[in-house]
């Protein structure tokens, strides 16, 4: 059973056209993350939510925004995608309880920018 679900799996957009990627989880975890992974590179943390508290990484461009309307859902908004934003975007969750430390990842959303 899928526990972290990302939609869409593949997204094609035009240069400058806003795009939203979604993530839902059935684990009831209090922390949700968005990572960007470019080809042949390690995942790079963009931001995370600890409950409703938003934590932005210092080097995350302003072009990237996020929303978490409730525990189960989190969205990644890219306001004006550039060619350099083409990547796999990974959503992950974790629980600060007994399994602290382990992240559970979704299948990812691959973004292509034309």
């Amino acid at each position: 059973d899928a526990m972290v679900i990302q939609n869409p799996r593949y997204q094609v957009t035009q240069f400058g056209k806003p795009v939203t990627l979604s993530c839902s989880q059935t684990l009831n975890h209090n922390v949700m993350y968005w990572y960007q992974q470019k080809s042949s590179q390690a995942p790079k943390l963009l931001f995370h939510y600890y409950d409703k508290d938003f934590n932005n990484e210092a080097d995350t461009p302003d072009n990237f925004q996020s929303r978490r309307p409730n525990t189960s859902f989190c969205f990644l908004d890219i306001r004006s995608p550039g060619l350099g934003d083409a990547a796999m975007y990974l959503c992950a969750t974790s629980d600060t309880g007994t399994r602290a430390g382990e992240l559970f990842f979704g299948e990812g959303s691959r973004l292509t920018v034309l």
Partner: protein, 115 residues
């Protein structure tokens, strides 16, 4: 701050041969250690983790890893690989305190298993 070094970007190996994927880390505080596997066009799946206790950790798919504190290493091993093990493997660390914080990944090692 923490950092993770995966010494080999690519490891080719024949089926049924043993394999070791190397990982070294640097941290001024105690950390949790993880290995994740990523199959093409998929997310990351946890292979195994070291939180505390026995330094030899067994994971899924026959993989194991040994934590060596003095050498700050956490190498991943499998005694006999299968074609289906072809994937990219990421070593990662996370500070024990502030558990909602960042997971620091290495750059990954692509394991290619040949028949």
């Amino acid at each position: 701050a923490q950092s993770v070094t995966q010494l080999d970007s690519q490891v080719p190996v024949f089926e049924e041969a043993p394999v070791e994927l190397r990982c070294n880390y640097s941290s001024s505080v105690s950390v949790y250690l993880f290995w994740y596997v990523q199959y093409p066009n998929q997310g990351l799946q946890l292979l195994l983790k070291y939180l505390s206790g026995s330094t030899l950790v067994k994971g899924i798919n026959g993989f194991e890893a040994e934590f060596n504190k003095s050498q700050t290493s956490f190498h991943l091993r499998k005694p006999s690989v299968h074609i289906s093990d072809t994937a990219e493997y990421f070593c990662a660390v996370r500070p024990l305190r502030g558990s909602q914080g960042n997971l620091i990944f290495g750059k990954g090692t692509k394991l290619s298993v040949k028949p």
